[in-house]
C-alpha cells in the first residue's frame, strides 16, 4: 500500500507567527480544476493585527545597522536557495512549466541578493551635504517611511512578492503584504523561509485572501504610512488613492507585469518608501581664515 501523503496547511504570517485567520474562513484557489489547497481568507482583523506587528517591529528593524539588514536579506536568499526545489514544485503546481518555475525561483533569489547589496548603499546615493550660505552644516539623508501596505502582483507568485517587498524592507520599513490571490502557495512557503532566516518577526507580514475585501482597510488604516499597489486596475488604484488621503499615505502604483525586466532592479524602488530628513547645525568659525570673535 502506498504511503498516505501529508498535506500542507497554508497559514498566514503575522509578527513571526503562523496563525490561522481569526475569521476561520478559507478559500480554495484552483489551477484549472485542481484545487491548490485551503487558503486562509484573511479578515480586516488579521490585517489590523498585522499592522500592530509591523509597527512594533519598525523601531528595531529601522534602527538596525545597514550592514545587519544587508546580511539579513542575504540570509533570506540563502534560505530560499536551500528550499528551491519546494518552490519550483509549488510554482509548477500553480500552473507554470518547469523551466518557467526554475527561472522564477532563480530570478527571485538573485533579486533578493540584488537588494541585499543595496541596504548599506542606497543612503549614500540619495543623501546630500548641502552647501548652504550660512555657517551651518546641512545634510539630507533618507529615513524609512514606516509601515507599508502591499498588494503583491497577481500575475505571478514568488518573483512578484520578492520584487515588491525587498526594496521596502531594505531601508528599514516594515510591511503587511496581501499575497497573490490565486497563486498564494509560494507566498506562504516564502513566509516559512523568512521565519527560518534572520528576519525579525513583524518586518514582513503575509496575508492571503481577496483584494476586494482588504483594499479598503489596507488603504485607510491610519497607522499605515504608505501603500505599494502592483497592478493596473484603475478602480482599485483610485480607491486606494482616495482612501489614503486621510493620513496622506505615500502611494506607489506600479505595473509589475514585466517582472523579469531589469527595470525592477533599481534603488529607486527603495527611494519610493523613504522620507528625506534635512538636518542643520551651526559651524563655529574660530581659527579659520578671516574668522574672529
Amino acid at each position: 500500500m502506498s504511503r498516505l501523503e501529508i498535506l500542507k496547511t497554508y497559514k498566514i504570517y503575522i509578527g513571526g507567527k503562523f496563525p490561522r485567520t481569526e475569521s476561520g474562513r478559507f478559500y480554495t484557489p484552483k489551477n484549472g480544476d485542481k484545487a491548490l489547497g485551503n487558503i486562509c481568507l484573511s479578515s480586516r482583523k488579521d490585517f489590523r493585527n498585522a499592522v500592530v506587528a509591523a509597527r512594533s517591529a519598525f523601531g528595531k528593524w529601522s534602527g538596525a545597522t545597514a550592514y545587519n539588514r544587508s546580511q539579513v536579506l542575504y540570509r533570506i536568499a540563502e534560505m530560499l536557495e536551500g528550499r528551491r526545489a519546494q518552490f519550483v514544485e509549488e510554482i509548477i503546481l500553480q500552473g507554470s512549466k518547469k523551466a518557467e518555475a526554475e527561472k522564477e525561483v532563480n530570478t527571485s533569489i538573485d533579486r533578493i541578493i540584488y537588494y541585499a547589496g543595496w541596504c548599506d548603499k542606497y543612503s549614500q546615493i540619495f543623501s546630500a551635504v548641502n552647501p548652504v550660505a550660512t555657517s551651518h552644516f546641512n545634510f539630507t539623508a533618507p529615513e524609512p517611511t514606516g509601515v507599508v501596505s502591499v498588494f503583491a502582483p497577481e500575475e505571478n507568485s514568488l518573483i512578484g512578492l520578492v520584487s515588491s517587498v525587498m526594496p521596502i524592507i531594505a531601508s528599514g520599513n516594515t510591511c503587511v503584504v496581501l499575497a497573490c490571490e490565486n497563486m498564494p502557495l509560494c507566498a506562504v512557503t516564502f513566509a516559512e523561509v523568512l521565519n527560518s532566516s534572520d528576519v525579525p518577526g513583524g518586518v514582513i507580514n503575509l496575508l492571503t485572501g481577496k483584494r476586494s475585501e482588504l483594499l479598503e482597510h489596507m488603504a485607510s488604516h491610519m497607522d499605515v504610512n504608505a501603500f505599494l499597489y502592483t497592478g493596473t486596475d484603475k478602480k482599485e488604484m483610485e480607491a486606494i488613492q482616495k482612501l489614503g488621503v486621510a493620513n496622506l499615505k505615500r502611494i506607489q502604483l506600479k505595473d509589475f507585469s514585466k517582472i523579469y525586466s531589469s527595470e525592477h532592479e533599481t534603488p529607486y524602488y527603495i527611494e519610493d518608501f523613504l522620507e528625506m530628513k534635512t538636518t542643520w547645525h551651526p559651524i563655529e568659525k574660530i581659527g579659520a581664515t578671516g574668522s574672529g570673535y
Binding site: 550660512t134 555657517s135 551651518h136 551651526p282 559651524i283 563655529e284 568659525k285 574660530i286 574672529g292 570673535y293
Partner: protein, 303 residues
C-alpha cells in the same frame, strides 16, 4: 590669602553657541537708530567713555593734555556731557587726579602688571595699592590668562578677590583679555569667575591684543552679567575696550545693552567704552545731527 570659592564649578559655566551669537548681533546691527534716538544715543555714548592713554611713551604732559581734552571736549558746542573717566597707568594717577580736580571725571588706573598680568600677587597688590593711594577711583586689572588656560580657576578667582579687597572703595574692572581666551565658552567662564570674585565691571580687553572688543564677545559678557543679576540681584558693569572708534558701532553697543540688560545699565555707572578716538567721532556726529552738516576732523581737538 586663600579664598577658594566653595561649591562653584566654573568649568560648568553655561555654553555659548557662536553662530547663534552672531545671528543675534546681526539683528542688533540691523536696528535703525535715527533722529532724536540717535542724538540721545550719541550723547549717552560720550558720557560713557573712559578716555584712555596706555602707551609706553606716556608722559605727564601727555596725560595732562588728555585730561584737558576730557574737560574741554568741544567748548564751542555747549551742554555736552563729559566723559566718564580718564584711564592711565598707575604712575600717572597723581597727575591725572590733579588735572581733573573738581571736574567730576573719575580717574581710572590699570594695575596688576598690565597688560600681561605676569607677576606675583605681591607686585600686583602693590601696583593696585599705589594706584588707589594716588586717588584712582577705578582700577582696571587683568586676569592671569595663563593660569586660566591651565584650568586653575581658583587661582584666577583668588587673585581677583585679593585685588578687589585691595581696591577698598575704588571700583574694580576686571579685564578678561578676550582676544587671548580663544572661545566664547571660555569668555563666559572667565566672566563668571570675575563676577563671583567681586568684579564691579567686567571688561573685554587691554587694547594691546587683537581682537579687542567686538559686539559678539560683548553680548556673551552681557548675558553672563544678566545671569549673575538674575541669580544674585547684584549689578555688574560692562566695559568693551579697544577697536570702538566710530559712532555707529558705539550706538550698536548701546542697542545691545538696551535689549539685553535694559535701562539700569544704560548709564556710565554700569557701562563704559574704553576708547580714545571714539570721543571725537561722537562729537562730529552730534554736531552733524544738530546742524545737518557733515564735519571735518580738523575742527575737533586731538589729544
Amino acid at each position: 590669602m586663600n579664598k577658594i570659592k566653595q561649591g562653584f564649578d566654573f568649568s560648568s559655566s553655561p555654553k555659548v553657541d557662536q553662530v547663534g551669537i552672531n545671528d543675534r548681533i546681526a539683528r542688533i546691527t540691523a536696528r535703525s537708530i535715527k533722529k532724536e534716538s540717535k542724538m540721545q544715543g550719541l550723547r549717552m555714548a560720550l558720557n560713557m567713555i573712559d578716555l584712555t592713554t596706555l602707551e609706553g611713551a606716556d608722559t605727564d604732559k601727555k596725560v595732562m593734555q588728555l585730561c584737558n581734552k576730557a574737560q574741554h571736549l568741544h567748548d564751542s558746542y555747549p551742554n555736552l556731557p563729559s566723559v566718564a573717566a580718564v584711564c592711565v597707568y598707575p604712575n600717572f594717577v597723581k597727575t591725572a587726579k590733579e588735572c581733573l580736580k573738581g571736574s567730576g571725571i573719575n580717574v581710572a588706573s590699570v594695575a596688576t602688571a598690565f597688560p600681561s598680568g605676569h607677576s606675583s600677587l605681591k607686585i600686583k597688590l602693590l601696583d593696585t595699592n599705589i594706584a588707589v593711594d594716588a586717588g584712582a577711583e577705578e582700577i582696571d586689572m587683568v586676569i592671569s590668562r595663563g593660569k586660566f588656560h591651565e584650568g586653575d580657576y581658583n587661582f584666577v578667582y583668588d587673585e581677583i578677590a585679593a585685588i578687589k579687597e585691595a581696591c577698598g572703595s575704588s571700583r574694580l574692572k576686571v579685564i578678561l583679555e578676550t582676544g587671548e581666551l580663544g572661545t566664547f565658552d571660555k569668555v563666559r567662564r572667565a566672566s563668571d569667575i570675575a563676577m563671583e570674585a567681586g568684579a564691579d565691571f567686567i571688561k573685554t580687553s587691554t587694547g594691546k591684543i587683537s581682537p579687542a572688543a567686538t559686539l559678539p564677545v560683548t553680548l556673551v559678557m552681557l548675558e553672563a552679567i544678566k545671569d549673575y543679576y538674575y541669580k544674585t540681584g547684584v549689578q555688574v558693569g560692562m566695559k568693551p575696550a579697544g577697536g570702538i572708534s566710530n559712532s555707529k558701532l558705539a550706538l550698536q553697543y548701546l542697542m545691545l545693552v538696551k535689549e539685553t540688560l535694559g535701562k539700569d545699565w544704560l548709564t556710565n555707572e554700569w557701562f563704559r567704552f574704553g576708547a580714545s578716538s571714539l570721543a571725537n567721532d561722537l562729537l562730529m556726529q552730534i554736531i552733524k545731527q544738530d546742524t545737518g552738516i557733515y564735519q571735518s576732523k580738523d575742527y575737533f581737538s586731538k589729544d
